[in-house]
């Protein structure tokens, strides 16, 4: 049995990464987490980023990271209406479009199958109500459900900023261009990710049934 869906997804993803690099620049996501957190930071602490006309970026910061590369990040934090930030904000909109088209497709398929097999629809409706429950039929506690994602997210972005890129910027865009750092990043990620997912994943998966 051949399923070519993996190839369709690959062609779509590969084409998007290429088109973005062709028209503007290679795709990257994780820097924008620093920008978003920096917007909050510089709002609460007005002194952390200041205007500095002597610099090309026009800004300097008491924070070494915002100040890095001649205040590049400080500038993005003070002027978030730029390509990179809007690009990341648009990602969920595109995913939503994909999700809704799938849902409409499924609904249409559901309506046609309901005419022939009424029972199958009832079962799937019951399954739809299941997500709040785990296998024991008990509600998954709030902490157990969301804490792994929260801690995971923390480690992902802490690591990505340390490596100066994530799966998009380092692995996909980097490897696409034959960047050595992209290959090294990918190897490091899977070296740690595979054992964690294999040996600890089952504890997280229990809370993941939804």
């Amino acid at each position: 049995m051949h399923n070519w869906n993996w190839l369709k997804g690959a062609l779509l993803l590969g084409a998007v990464f290429f088109i973005a690099a062709f028209l503007v620049k290679p795709i990257g996501v994780s820097t924008q987490f620093s920008v978003a957190a920096g917007i909050v930071h510089s709002t609460l602490d007005q002194d952390v980023i200041q205007v500095d006309e002597t610099r090309d970026s026009g800004y300097r910061s008491t924070n070494a990271y915002y100040d890095k590369s001649d205040g590049k990040l400080a500038k993005s934090i003070k002027n978030p209406m730029n390509y990179d930030f809007i690009f990341v904000l648009a990602i969920p909109l595109g995913a939503l479009a994909g999700y809704l088209t799938d849902k409409i497709k499924k609904q249409k398929a559901g309506v046609s199958s309901a005419k022939t097999e009424d029972n199958s629809l009832k079962i799937s409706e019951q399954e739809l109500k299941m997500p709040e429950m785990n296998v024991r039929g008990v509600r998954t506690p709030f902490i157990k459900k969301y804490l792994p994602a929260y801690i995971g997210g923390f480690l992902l972005l802490f690591g990505a900023r340390m490596a100066d890129g994530c799966t998009s910027g380092h692995m996909f865009s980097g490897m696409m261009q034959g960047s050595v750092s992209g290959y090294i990043f990918a190897a490091s990620v899977f070296l740690a990710g595979i054992p964690v997912a294999r040996y600890l994943g089952k504890y997280f998966m229990e809370g993941m049934i939804d």
Binding site: H41, V88, P92, L93, G153, Q177, G178, L200, K202
Partner: protein
């Protein structure tokens, strides 16, 4: 114009992440557990395909090589990658896919990951100076190193130019094609029976 292209390309990227299944934590987790490698095939083939498009368009002179952007190789990439991998294995998501998932299904979990990510990025911003003083970004620093000499702006390992990148792309797509669908038997989620 810049903002419009950001919305269109960002939207397209989110659409592609959703459609390829990359934004689904269950699929990413099954991939990392080596139980279902279809997503691995997708990513590997996608990278190779993008390499092929990039090299062919450059070889025929259509690609503006000033768009190339290579990241520095240093110890931070390795340590950061390992920390990233732990988060990847724990949450089954990554920075791009959790943003995508925040617009589709599994939204609450995705938002938890995004909030954790914002805090993680913030803590890194605060600790950057300390890591820098430790020499994390100077150790093993090889500069913006590329496998092939695709631009004079970057040092490279092999003198094959875009032809080399094309071969690499073909190798990656071939590897993705022959990669089996699974390397490990899927373990059902632990089903604890209620003894009462």
């Amino acid at each position: 114009m810049t903002i419009l292209s950001a919305i269109i390309l960002g939207g397209l990227f989110g659409f592609a992440l959703y459609k390829s299944g990359a934004s689904d934590p269950k699929k990413l987790m099954a991939t990392l557990r080596l139980e279902d490698l279809t997503l691995m095939k997708t990513i590997l083939f996608g990278i190779g395909f993008a390499s092929i498009l990039l090299s062919v368009s450059s070889l025929v002179g259509l690609f503006d090589i000033s768009h190339l952007s290579i990241k520095t190789t240093n110890l931070g990439v390795i340590i950061g990658g390992l920390i990233f991998g732990i988060g990847f294995g724990a949450a089954g998501t990554c920075p791009g896919t959790c943003v995508a998932a925040a617009g589709s299904d599994g939204i609450k979990k995705a938002i938890s990951a995004v909030i954790g990510g914002l805090l993680g990025a913030f803590v890194f911003s605060l600790s950057y100076g300390w890591f820098k003083d430790l020499g994390l970004f100077d150790s093993l620093n090889a500069g913006k190193l590329t496998l092939f000499n695709i631009s004079d702006a970057f040092p490279s390992v092999i003198n094959l130019g875009f032809g080399g990148l094309l071969i690499m792309g073909l190798l990656l797509t071939a590897a993705a094609y022959v990669l089996p669908g699974s390397l490990a038997k899927a373990q059902p989620v632990k089903q604890t029976r209620n003894m009462n």
